[in-house]
């Protein structure tokens, strides 16, 4: 028997099946990924690389049963064939006990898993769609093309037309044989596709009372919000505003790192946000998403009143959603959420959520994005 080629192609199919199985595991363990920081920092432009436990078939094997005794037999790492693995390191038996597998997943797929798990509705965009990049549609025909794109029905119609016109068609024997000139192939046209655009504007309290863990929670929540909204809008803009007693616009990196020590005037952030939106993101063209995170301690009741009026008069009219996430801290009174709830209750554009700890992340995301706005 000669040795056939193509193992490299066949193994890709096995690998794809393996990847599908791994994805199933990721879905099962979504909560762990959402509440852990391991995914952030593993995110590339399109892909995120996820460590998952090795998908291993169970066997009778020696093991420790969690008491730190028993014999370290090592695993029969390469029990088949005689692959000679050069370079020493990584040869048989040297694998660490914890098998983690790095899996590359596209962000879109991650979003799909999140959406399925949280039962998030697709967003119904508002506003005028902007015409942007053309999309390919297979909606036309050509006389030449690859075999895979042959259009059978049209090919036979051409053949029938030719035979009828040439008088060679015999209704009692209705077989038709296409000639080379009858062949038709599917082809594409570029169709301009209207697209909706969205802005996500994050605001965060960086005053002294927001600690490291609180910011980490904000980072995790916004990571998943980004991931979801990115799957819903093809063009997405982000803006970041931090505030203590005064607000300023910063880049993403600064947003998550900055720590100030001053007091807290939330209205300063809302006023700046309103300015940004009014100047750059007209409501007619943009779906505007506003997220604000703080520990709920505002400077004064007077400032809170000012917040509500900026919200009512300037921010909410042009926004799809205003979400307030209150992260519990050792110092925060948590008053602000109550104020927002009582002032704006019944407004379906407004969603507030309390995030006590990392366990609260998933429910908060579900609340924020569950309305499909």
């Amino acid at each position: 028997m000669d040795v056939p080629d193509g193992a490299a192609g066949r193994i890709e199919r096995d690998r794809a099946r393996f990847a599908a199985i791994v994805r199933g595991h990721i879905k099962q363990d979504l909560r762990r990924y959402v509440t852990g920081s391991e995914l952030i920092g593993r995110k590339g432009r399109q892909m995120v690389s996820i460590p998952v436990p090795r998908v291993e078939l169970p066997r009778f094997r020696f093991g420790r049963n969690g008491r730190g005794q028993g014999q370290g037999q090592g695993e029969r790492a390469a029990d088949e064939g005689q692959p000679a693995e050069g370079q020493g390191a990584g040869a048989a038996g040297s694998q660490p006990g914890q098998h983690l597998l790095e899996v590359e997943l596209s962000l879109e797929e991650m979003a799909r898993i999140l959406g399925e798990e949280l039962e998030l509705p697709d967003i119904q965009p508002r506003g005028r769609a902007r015409v942007s990049a053309p999309a390919r549609r297979f909606s036309s025909l050509r006389r030449s093309g690859p075999r895979g794109l042959r259009h059978m029905r049209r090919t036979f119609r051409e053949a029938l037309r030719r035979e009828l016109a040439g008088g060679s068609y015999d209704p009692s024997r209705p077989g038709v044989v296409p000639a080379p000139g009858d062949l038709r192939y599917r082809s594409w046209k570029d169709v301009p596709r209207p697209e909706h655009a969205a802005l996500i504007l994050y605001m965060m309290d960086v005053s002294g009372s927001m600690g490291r863990e609180q910011k980490e929670i904000v980072r995790l929540v916004s990571f998943w919000i980004d991931t979801w909204l990115r799957s819903q809008y093809r063009s997405l803009e982000m803006r970041y505003v931090v505030h203590d007693a005064v607000a300023r616009e910063v880049d993403q990196d600064t947003f998550y790192r900055l720590r100030e020590s001053g007091g807290t005037k939330i209205s300063s952030a809302y006023a700046l946000a309103a300015e940004i939106v009014e100047r750059q993101f007209p409501a007619a063209e943009w779906n505007v998403y506003l997220f604000h995170f703080s520990d709920g301690d505002n400077w004064s009741g007077r400032d809170t009143e000012r917040c509500m009026s900026v919200l009512r008069e300037r921010l909410l009219p042009g926004a799809n959603l205003f979400c307030y996430g209150q992260v519990k801290s050792a110092y925060g009174s948590g008053q602000f959420k109550k104020d927002v709830d009582s002032a704006l209750s019944g407004d379906e554009r407004v969603i507030t959520a309390e995030i006590l700890d990392r366990e609260g992340i998933l429910p908060a995301i579900r609340q924020f994005l569950g309305r499909g706005r």
Binding site: D5, F18, R67, A84, G88, A91, E102
Partner: protein, 426 residues
Amino acid sequence: MERPDAELLALQREVEARARDAGLDPPEVEYRVVDHRELNAIAAYGGFPVRYAHWRFGMEYDRLIKGHAWGLQRIYELVINTRPVLAWLLRDNAPVEQKLVMAHVCGHADFFRANAWFAHTDPHMLETMAAHAARLRELAAAHGQDALESFIDRVHSLDNLVDAGALRRARGRPGNAPPLDGPLAPGDVLGHVLRDAPLADWQREVVALLRDEACYFLPQALTKVMNEGWASFWHSRLMTGSLLRDAEVVDYACQHSGAMGGSDGPMNPYKLGLELFRHVHARAGGDSGGGLRAVFDARAVHDDLTFVDAFLDLDFARAHGLGADEAACAAARESLLAGLTNAGQPVIRRLPSEPRELELEHVWSGAELQLDQAEETLRHLHALWQGPVRLHTRLDGRALLLSAGPAGVTRELGEALAEPGPPPGA
């Protein structure tokens, strides 16, 4: 994949001529030249590019190419036990590397022919694997891809339950696995499943195919240290004895020490096997005495377990830092032997019982089974057996009975056993 060009063929003739001069008797070897992507794919299929499709091979491939991308490991060479022996060469290896690989492959090929464990392996395994793959494709078409896959998953999780001892019995008929009509070895649990479990015909066929493949691979697992040691012993003798040109010495030394070194210490199977063969050679008087006779004899009759047991003596232990006195040497030997017994797999045997009951015993060797996996495996076994399945093992120095039934697996801890559990500090 291509056949070797004239230059490589000339190299092969030269290497094999020197190997025969030295006393090796490799069967015919055929080389194919591939790139590393293809080599990794073939390695993931256990050396058989025609093997059936399964995600497990995809997982192995994923691991291999990532190891390659990260520079952790690189497969230089891959050889399978068929007639002719098939071996792959990497296209972008330098000539000195190809020469080294060919000398190494001569050692493996000679080992496949001469070692007693390989006396009964299927010489046409490439064709057999292709036939298995074709049959499994048919079964997938008939019974559904998903049904077949989940059934194969079950059997994979049991495919170390074959009896090594039964493989060495002369059988005089084709196939890697012991026949079912004779008495079955107690460790041949898959054989017992095949004979006694109420499986559907197609399921029985799948179990038989996978058992055959497992029995084909088992001798390689039992002789890994020796096989690699033998190939390394000969590549180093052949290369430094006659094959190396002056200009190639440094490159060769680099390759060779790369494969032998590493952080694994003496358990790097290449290094351990190589040094043991060198020790056997020196102990019997080297080239001028009976050294060569001694290594040729050892490679024919031993497996890793008996090889280490017979030749890891105090001189060897001292020379390789395994121990300075008899006690330390014995301890080092015991620890190696524990890892080599039954190719590092627990020994599981069927106890005499009613035909429709499966009573299994884990033969105690001082190490516990990993319980969560053992229970999961019992569930799979129960699904095949469709009747009561029990396993006697130990936990914390006490007897433990795991029983698998329709409701799952239950644990029943028994009395403390006379012999203490795992030896302390092991």
